[in-house]
Amino acid sequence: MSADRTCIIFYLLSAVLYFIHNGNSQEGIFNAKHADHCFPSEFLESLSMSMKITKAGFHRDLLYSVEWGKVDHDVKALLVQKMPSGVYMDEYQLETLKHDTGLEVLLDSKVDLEAPEYLSSGFTALVFLSGKHEATVPVHGRYHRPSNSSQKWVTVEIEPPRLLLRSDQCVLPHHEATEAPCTVRNHSICSWLEIRRLEDTGPVSLEIPVGDSSMTLCVCVGTVLTAALSCVFLLRSIWRHGTF
């Protein structure tokens, strides 16, 4: 009798354990299915991203465009753009654009608006595309070191951004997720799916004029002479016409 009871308890325990285990793995399967359902492979095939740079000179616009096929839930995209030290973004201009055009860009550090390139460091900009497929982000070139060769321009390369996706309707499994702020207000961190198999759009580059340091001596001499000439001319005028 006691053996039967032990057997029943044993079977009950193993059944419970089995259901718990199975339930978990079913949940796991459920999650994976849900993620697949969230971003199925046809959807991932239909993804495309392009990046262009427009305008000329020191003030440029970065045009981002992310396209995807039809899907029955909302998709939020996030572009993680690493910027080199040769350019900067104006956080105050971005703030104004957020009010005017709804552009959502978050900078990861305080960017000096006036420092030259050799005294600045790169930073990362997070461009949020909530429901939109395009964004135009203004960037500005910094002054670079004058060149000692006959190079008149310096090329600054901006690598293509990383594309992250998430949706409010599904939860991503943790081992596949990248952590990043949920929205531009940076109140909370969410899990995003990083899309790695995108066609490489290649970096964009901008050319920034630089001074010619081979002319340094000529410029210094010319400037000092002109300033001295003007100064002497004015001193002479004041001496002649002033009352002492």
Binding site: K55, A56, G57, F58, H59, Y92, T96, K110, D112, L113, E114, A115, P116, Y118, L119, Y143, R145, P146, K152, W153, E207, I208, P209, V210, G211, D212, S213, M215, T216, V219, C220, G222, T223, V224, T226, A227, A228, L229, S230, C231, F233, L234, L235, S237, I238, W239, R240, H241, G242, T243, F244
Partner: protein
């Protein structure tokens, strides 16, 4: 009140209102904004003050907290309050010019024409309606000069202390003011008694009141905001080496020699950073560019000293000359700086014997000089052409043009002392 005066001021008010409306429309509908970035800097700094924080949390706010305090209604009432205040200061400056010209013996008719040079001039109207604070300082400087003409020394000293607190350049006016307040040296006594006589009661009173106002304001703000206040309000402007293109003739030279001393100024920081980077060329270029920065002060210093001595009898002309020289030979020069001496030009014009055609030709020359600079600067910044050499040469040409125009003004000016001697 005179009908003509009313008419002039009404036209000035209308002109500014039209520009304000254009500004509002342009800001709302076009990509290129009418309002200057500085106005947003002031508003942001005022917002920090209303929240009980330091206005220097706003980066690039390099002014006195008094300005941010004055503009707190921008946050509390309407965003356009600041622009209306600056336009009001414009009109106040016009009225002060009228009073000053009357005191200096100019006829009503010519005084009105000279005021029109300020009130109906698109440059100051544009600058104020764009939200730059230059007209506040113009009003302060003109009221200082008016109080000095009326011999109200305490009021003049108070306004002078406030002006120097707001911007450093009126400090150069201390020399002509001191020389005009001091007693004339007499040949009979020796050097030391003459020097003692220089410091008479008027001069000591002026120095004491303006010094106390300046120290009181600086002390208060230093206690509240600490080192940030001193650095952003004053030290930044003195040590500033902006290598980006601007009207200054020294811009390209400073850009090419900028590295080595980093953003520091002076010989010692240059040498120190050279030693730190471990290179002889670093030390050499550091000390070189450091001493270069010091050398660049010499023309400004010499011209300011000599013009103070030469024209001490005519304070407004002396101040005009000081500011024109200071701006032309400064390491950084933007178009806002022109307003610093433009507000004093109406006081100088009645005594010029230039003749209308010559005057207009000089004005045209000045505008052409600016245009010759703006053209390569535009293609550098917005089209990416490497026109650095052209910008440099245009900067030098602009300096030569400014010096020529100033030389013409000095050569054709009848100082007020000559007038007095004639009537005596």
């Amino acid at each position: 009140m005179d009908v003509r005066v009313c008419g002039m001021f009404s036209a000035a008010v209308l002109f500014r209102l039209v520009l304000l409306c254009v500004g509002v429309y342009q800001d709302q509908n076009l990509q290129l904004k009418y309002t200057d970035v500085d106005y947003h800097v002031f508003t942001d700094a005022s917002r920090f003050i209303t929240q009980g924080e330091s206005p220097y949390r706003r980066s690039t706010f390099r002014y006195t907290p008094v300005l941010a305090l004055m503009l707190t209604p921008n946050v509390l009432l309407t965003a356009h309050f600041g622009k209306l205040l600056f336009c009001g200061c414009d009109l106040l400056s016009g009225w002060l010019l009228l009073r000053l010209l009357a005191l200096r013996g100019t006829s009503r008719g010519s005084a009105l024409v000279c005021c029109g040079l300020w009130l109906l001039n698109p440059l100051p109207a544009g600058v104020s309606t764009r939200g730059n604070a230059e007209s506040v300082l113009a009003a302060l400087v003109l009221s200082t000069l008016l109080c000095l003409e009326c011999r109200r020394l305490a009021a003049a000293a108070l306004l002078f202390g406030l002006s120097v607190h707001m911007k450093i350049y009126p400090l150069t006016y201390a020399l002509p003011i001191a020389l005009s307040l001091a007693e004339a040296p007499s040949r009979e006594r020796g050097l030391v008694p003459n020097l003692v006589r220089l410091f008479n009661r008027d001069l000591l009173l002026f120095a004491a009141v303006s010094g106390s106002v300046f120290m009181a304001l600086n002390g208060t703000f230093y206690c509240i905001y600490g080192w940030d206040f001193l650095h952003e309000s004053y030290l930044y402007h003195v040590t500033r080496r902006d290598i980006r293109h601007n009207f200054s003739p020294y811009f390209y030279m400073l850009y090419l020699t900028a590295e080595g001393s980093g953003t520091g100024s002076g010989i010692w920081s240059g040498i120190w950073s050279g030693i730190w980077s471990g290179s002889w060329s670093g030390i050499w270029s550091g000390s070189w560019s450091g001493s270069l920065a010091l050398v660049l002060f010499v023309p400004q210093l010499l011209l300011v000293l000599l013009s103070s001595l030469a024209f001490r009898s005519d304070r407004p002309f002396c101040c005009f000359l000081h500011t024109a020289v200071f701006v032309s030979f400064n390491k950084v020069c933007t178009s806002q700086y022109f307003l610093w001496y433009l507000c004093l030009l109406p006081l100088v014009v009645p005594r010029l014997t230039l003749g209308r055609r010559r005057g207009l030709a000089l004005l045209l020359l000045w505008i052409v000089g600016q245009a010759l600079w703006l053209s390569p600067a535009y293609s550098l910044e917005f089209e990416g052409r490497n026109s650095f050499t052209l910008v440099w040469m245009a900067g030098l040409l602009f300096l030569l043009i400014n010096s020529f125009i100033l030389g013409q003004i000095i050569g054709h000016y009848r100082p007020i002392e000559a007038q007095r001697k004639k009537t005596d």
